[in-house]
């Protein structure tokens, strides 16, 4: 039997799609801007996101916040950035088509109109009438060759293991450094110490793209909670962040 495990969603696009559908909206820029906060809220509280997939979830979060900020300040955005938003809409529509197709594929499999092969048997009746040899070794094989091959296989596996360990280490550091809530605390602390912080300094401390996104999300979150003031003297110049006077 082929069983299907059902999960709430699969991957960041699955989450995005389920949020949009739960609001009964179509895939549009307005819809994406509207659900941006829900999406970020979900990944902040979700405990079951696979660390391997976290970066992909955050990337979509960053795109959504970008769309949301554009909805608020449309004149700041260029045609090129417009394109990027179209891409997310397009990607999501295509994904939705494949999710629908996967449901049809599941139904087809479940009808169990499977095609069968004869089971394999060494004494297969289709062969027995041909008097085939029961032992047919390849000519150029010897025990030394087997040993050599086995050592090569071990070598290949060792490389694979080392690579996996490296990736795992990367993930672990990612995981430990990545919490948005922790980042909020760090930023608040920096502001207590310094009163004013440059946004670029915050980002300079980030080591990976994911960390940049986390910083970005943390700052936005603090802004939403109305704990921060942003000042920018002109377009594309440094952004200064400071705390609102004690609330």
């Amino acid at each position: 039997m082929m069983d299907f495990i059902t999960e709430k969603f699969s991957g960041p696009l699955g989450l995005l799609l389920s949020l949009i559908e739960s609001e009964e909206m179509d895939i549009t820029e307005i819809a994406l801007a509207k659900i941006a906060d829900d999406y970020v809220g979900y990944i902040r509280s979700a405990k079951n996101i696979n660390p391997e997939e976290l970066a992909d979830f955050l990337l979509i979060a960053a795109k959504l916040l970008f769309i949301k900020s554009k909805a608020l300040l449309p004149y700041l955005y260029s045609a090129e950035e417009e394109e990027e938003i179209n891409d997310l809409e397009h990607q999501l529509r295509m994904y939705r088509e494949f999710v629908a197709a996967s449901q049809r594929v599941k139904e087809i499999i479940n009808t169990r109109h499977w095609l069968y092969l004869p089971p394999f048997s060494n004494a297969h009746n289709r062969r027995s009438q041909f008097n085939l040899p029961v032992f047919a070794p390849p000519a150029k094989i010897n025990s030394g060759l087997l040993r050599e091959r086995f050592l090569e296989i071990l070598g290949g596996l060792e490389k694979q293991l080392a690579k996996n360990k490296e990736e795992k280490l990367l993930e672990e550091t990612l995981e430990t450094k990545i919490s948005i809530d922790d980042q909020i605390i760090i930023i608040k602390q920096m502001l207590v110490d310094k009163i004013k912080v440059n946004f670029s300094r915050l980002l300079a401390a980030a080591k990976t793209k994911t960390e940049i996104i986390v910083n970005f999300l943390a700052v936005l979150e603090l802004a939403k909670q109305q704990e921060l003031i942003f000042e920018q003297s002109e377009l594309f110049s440094e952004i200064h962040i400071s705390r609102l006077a004690d609330k």
Partner: protein
């Protein structure tokens, strides 16, 4: 005997899917002729009231029982299983079925998430196959005959909406690409 009958004998005895070029070398004929004869056989099985089906996948052919008789065949054989399929695996299989041969990056892009682990799992279960493209220096993935057998189809083209979903680009993407070639498109 005719080429078609020889091919039927070979497909009946073979334990694995047969490539056109292997069939050609065994029967000592040109690939073109083999292709025409196999196609005839493919249509014969489709047309008649037959208990056998010829699967065509990845330019390989394999003889199996027909979909309509699955119930009676299950009585004779031990139940075959392909284990559990999670929603992410099902999505990946669907995308590979419609878009294969597909590169890993393209699969990741459509699902919006890294699919390494899912691919490893599907390879182990024999539901997808990996082949290395030397020119593009990338691995490509296709569906195996085993998965086609679970679908009960003769070929992937028989999947619902195959023409629409198998195209690498949807219509609006094509239109957009065409528009960007026009000088006026830069002025928005």
């Amino acid at each position: 005997m005719s080429l078609k009958s020889q091919l039927e004998s070979l497909l009946f005895v073979s334990l694995k899917p047969m490539a056109l070029k292997d069939l050609a070398s065994l029967t000592d004929t040109k690939v073109k002729e083999v292709e025409a004869a196999v196609q005839e056989l493919f249509l014969d099985y489709q047309a008649g009231d037959r208990g056998l089906t010829l699967i065509k996948n990845n330019q390989q052919y394999q003889l199996t029982t027909s979909a309509a008789n699955s119930v009676v065949v299950q009585k004779l054989l031990k139940d075959e299983t392909s284990g559990e399929l999670s929603q992410p695996s099902l999505e990946a299989l669907t995308i590979i079925a419609y878009r294969g041969p597909i590169a890993k990056l393209e699969l990741d892009r459509i699902r919006g998430v890294n699919c390494s682990l899912i691919i490893r799992n599907l390879l182990l279960r024999g539901l997808v196959e990996e082949s290395f493209d030397k020119i593009k220096n990338e691995n490509f993935y296709t569906i195996t005959n085993d998965f086609i057998r679970f679908l009960g189809l003769r070929q992937l083209n028989d999947l619902p909406d195959y023409d629409k979903l198998s195209r690498a680009e949807t219509i609006d993407e094509v239109l957009r690409a065409a528009a960007s070639l026009l000088p006026a498109a830069s002025e928005r």
